[in-house]
Symmetry: D2
Subunit: 366 residues, 4 copies
């Protein structure tokens, strides 16, 4: 039995994701019950590099109690930097990893709980290699991490998109229109697929299943011929034509930029369909950032809280260099390496896609 840690630090990195505050709260509550102090690090790990009182501060149970249902992160987050020099030579210009470890040691930090996506966990891994005890908490709103069955924030995004589809449906129906909704998903179509099924979409276009505009148009006409006079199309921002380019013009990681508004996937798909069936009344909406902020669903609050508690439990058990991972009905830990190894994509031949097809949903793929 290792001696228990006396001081944890927690940081949140990458894009906003509903449930981040629930993780922070859970870590603080669980740690304090075990007599462990928690330092909150501002702005990803930047706050630790700066190392001032303003950027690393003690978090108390009273302070975090009310943040369970709040969107965002009280610690701030960033995807602009890494303490290591590996990232495309841009920023930062030099390796500050050892500096970071020294700061952590100076502050008496025994364990770092690092909440973030594959980018953040690559940093966790490198810090662990240099000797730090790091426990990762997976975070990806796209739900595309292979090391965990599910991630918090994803369910909230799916709910927001489904609510939007409910609203679009009534307008589509009243006006005999085809509504195209562009949603998040550069590399994986989980949000489009889940919300498309939940929202009653007729067509869903995802990166994993390249589509043909001709097939999309044909399936839309088939829908519109079968007694229906309107249709809903959900388009993941990273969907791609058969044999064509991925629609997504490589955007620096870290969020939906203005460029996704100008000529995003939704707009492009609209133009492609219009080229085949010009008579269709098409309208495009791109939900953008409202998919990744705001209060988390009950499901995401529970999941995030459990991940946070289990991260501290892992620290108490003396684990190091692990990722907490949802393996329903339990939360387990897996080697941190898994977090950066493999993306979880939608299986085009899997049951979920088959079920969608069973509901009459077209992927425009054949």
């Amino acid at each position: 039995m290792p001696s228990p840690p006396r001081k944890l630090a927690i940081a949140t990195g990458g894009g906003d994701c509903p449930g981040l505050n629930a993780v922070i709260r859970a870590v603080v509550l669980r740690a304090h019950a075990a007599g462990i102090e928690v330092l909150g690090v501002e702005d990803g790990l930047n706050g630790l590099l700066e190392g001032t009182g303003a950027t690393v501060r003690a978090l108390t149970p009273i302070e975090v109690a009310p943040i369970l249902g709040r969107g965002g992160t009280v610690l701030g987050t960033t995807n602009r930097c890494s303490p290591f020099a590996w990232r495309d030579g841009k920023a930062p210009p030099r390796d500050r990893g050892d500096e970071l470890l020294a700061r952590a040691q100076a502050l008496g930090i025994d364990v770092l709980i690092n909440v973030g996506g594959d980018g953040s966990q690559a940093i966790s891994l490198e810090l662990a290699r240099r000797g730090m005890t790091v426990i990762g908490v997976p975070k990806t709103i796209d739900n595309d991490l292979d090391a965990t069955v599910e991630t918090f924030g994803f369910g909230t995004a799916v709910q927001v998109v489904t609510d939007a589809l409910d609203r679009l449906r009534t307008t589509a129906e009243s006006h005999d229109r085809t509504m195209i909704l562009e949603v998040m998903g550069r590399h994986a179509g989980w949000i489009a697929l889940h919300s498309g099924i939940a929202g009653g979409a007729d067509v869903i276009l995802i990166p994993e299943l390249p589509y043909s505009p001709v097939h999309v148009a044909r399936d839309l006409m088939r829908t519109l011929g079968a007694g229906r006079h309107f249709a809903l199309v959900v388009v993941a921002e990273g969907c791609a034509c058969v044999g064509g380019e991925v629609s997504h013009k490589a955007v620096a990681s870290g969020g939906i930029g203005p460029s996704s508004i100008l000529g995003g996937a939704g707009q492009r798909v609209a133009e492609e369909i219009a080229a085949v069936v010009p008579e269709l009344e098409l309208r495009v909406t791109a939900l953008g950032h409202i998919q990744r902020g705001g209060t988390p669903t009950a499901y995401d609050r529970l999941l995030a809280s459990r991940l946070g508690v289990e991260a501290v439990e892992a620290a108490l058990r003396g684990e190091r260099s692990v990722l907490v991972s949802s393996q329903p009905p339990d939360i387990k830990t897996v080697p941190l390496e898994l977090a950066v190894k493999k993306m979880r994509a939608v299986d085009p031949r899997g049951q979920l896609v088959a079920h969608a097809r069973g509901l009459g949903i077209s992927f425009g793929d054949a």
Copy 2:
């Protein structure tokens, strides 16, 4: 006392608007209680011109009972046509007004209840001039009709935008960003103004108050300097630069088209600000059609229901060529002419704008 009508027809025209079904339901319930039959006319007044069983059908209380909270309109709606030849020479090629009146007479319709915006009410007025008894129900999601203090659907749109601002806020806060949200409002800034105040915006740009990008940038920097590190900007699609063009590139009437996504007001404002302060992290979202569909708020359901009942009451009182109008706490009737006369714009020197300024909100105007 006039002899009461025996048969009403009801039609809904123009863009989708939460509450349309509540009006239809109220008309049917009130009319049936008075022993009056109600015909529902499909697709604006087109259904009457077609005049088939499929496009004009009896509506029963049992059928309309469950539609109170449903978005859209069970009658369908359109803004593509007028029975008269006045509209820009395009469609329809000939005046079919008398044909429409003949159809109505053949069907035994005593009163037409026409739910729609200024375009629809202009048709109501012309039909009334040719002898039909028409009662208008005002509909404009932008709340910009001078003949009524408020219109249904508007409150729902404001709520949807405010919910979106709540979600954007947490991401803005976590990432130290300035979020720009483009909302409906080509000619009037009511939605932007109400939701901007309710959602805690820092800057609101509306058509009635031409802005200067330099002032917007200055006020943003002031906000960001005063202890805040993020900002929210709400932009009405019709907002305009001082001395500049209205941002809105004339789009065919009838809704937010794909073009509003490509280079809409939000995107343009982002570029204008970026030209002044390139260091700001700006992100743009355009809510588009999710603002005008879906289930209405309780407020809009009540308002729409009351307008529908009062339209039938007016018919029972023998009124003709009137518009039902919300004059809180009552619903009254005003001459139909008023519906097409004057738009209600935000008063730049009015108390609502003053209150917004009192909350520290900038209009970028000075």
Copy 3:
């Protein structure tokens, strides 16, 4: 022109009401822009009587910026005490009004902004009579104050009840049941009436319209005979039988107590109906406290913000002993006396009730 105040205090009294924080925020933002300091007083005026640093504290714009959409009040609230000895001899035992004034003077408070219902405004009035400059902000979730056309929080309560009716409806429909929903409203039926219309109720029972159980049962059977197989009944907690007692057993002011669960109006009405038509499948739900907490609607946030700004404007204009009052489309001020004079009840012969009847809603009154 009076010299402007240099220091305001703000207190919130009485029951929770969505929008309280929006008022506080607006007061602080507007005051600071005018160079006026704002002190927040904890727990109604108790905090001022205590007068410690913990119970009276400066409020800053940065601190209040995020509370716009949060339910509750950051100042705490109470309905357990008055500084004066008038209240039923119970508490407090002695008049502490002059003590309160002395404290306020010692703290340099020029103006007190007192947010609360008729009880709180009676205190405001007495303080004003003893020389304090007091500006009242009306607060009653029941919307039953004659001095203002509408109050914040009410719309949120109506939305919560309407959402509940939407949920109850599907169960009623699936099970052929009659669902009874008990809502707030001891003396006025506004919440029951607005939400009942918005939620499609078949029967609404309010204090202003004494009902007969026989008539309620008859109207339910009529509804159930006319092709419908379920029904919704909304019951204000203060509704009363014709010739009978008010259902509400006098509960100490300040909220729905356990007693409202045990044998509240909903349960009693269910038993009364069951006595007439035992074969009806009746189910009762009492919404209780979820009606008066939580995030305010966009409408209530706007209204509350405007009232808060206008309270400071009134102070700047040198007004004293006034109540800010919503007189759409403006916020005005009226003498504080009006706040305690007259309750605004539903007019049984007014248009709103007539409209409800026009929708086929029964009040069980004839």
Copy 4:
């Protein structure tokens, strides 16, 4: 390979549960794509016993398309009867099972898809034993069926309760109160446990963990002493004192009756706590039926849709006497016997309860 079925029937039994319509829709869409006709049976299996055109009717894709997001069931549901004579001798007086089979045969029904809880699946099983091909779809809002990892409707109930906790919290906080919320869960505490964690409860009382009022009071006082001045308590209706009786007075299965309002578990717990610490300000709310109706969450819509599709897939594969079962990430089939064998209770020593304790939540058990 068996010859595929030509005609399916679908029935929904037991209490209302968000997602029932999504199952019906999915069955109809999938079956029609395979050329199979679907008959909808009204009111559980009663409609089949009646066997009139009004109670058994063909369901078409056009008809079911819009019901995905609607609460309730378009088929009606009941828990008042079984075709067999086994149930407590009350109703029905005689075994009508063979009659039901004869009716089904006469109507050409090849497969019955029976959506319901353990009661309904016991009927499924008996029908299967008598030779009918039956495929069960599990339904229990309490999520307490061992044969499936999760059931639709449960997540919606958890969200509704969590939303209620969010509202109660602000009032508790403003008034320094302890709020008690009674939720569904006669035999299993899943709803209380999930929503209690998601809503930030301080105490959760569930049937699986008998509590002591003294411990509840002690833990509440500990919470209130640790810098907090309010508390939230979630109480499952079936929670029980250590050594005491289950609070739930045996109510006939099938819903929360008026009796749960009068002296339900919430009220009893309030009285028990008050007996120990009379100075606490306690308030009780019983959510009742709003937990089990209304529009399903996105999650439940997806789950219900997948179960419906897979039920038809099972029929196409020639399976009989099976239950579709969620085994994330897939939907599988298990023997129908499993549906009636074992309830799934919360494991008092399981990880979920441990995580709740890790968050500082008390179960009042020690």
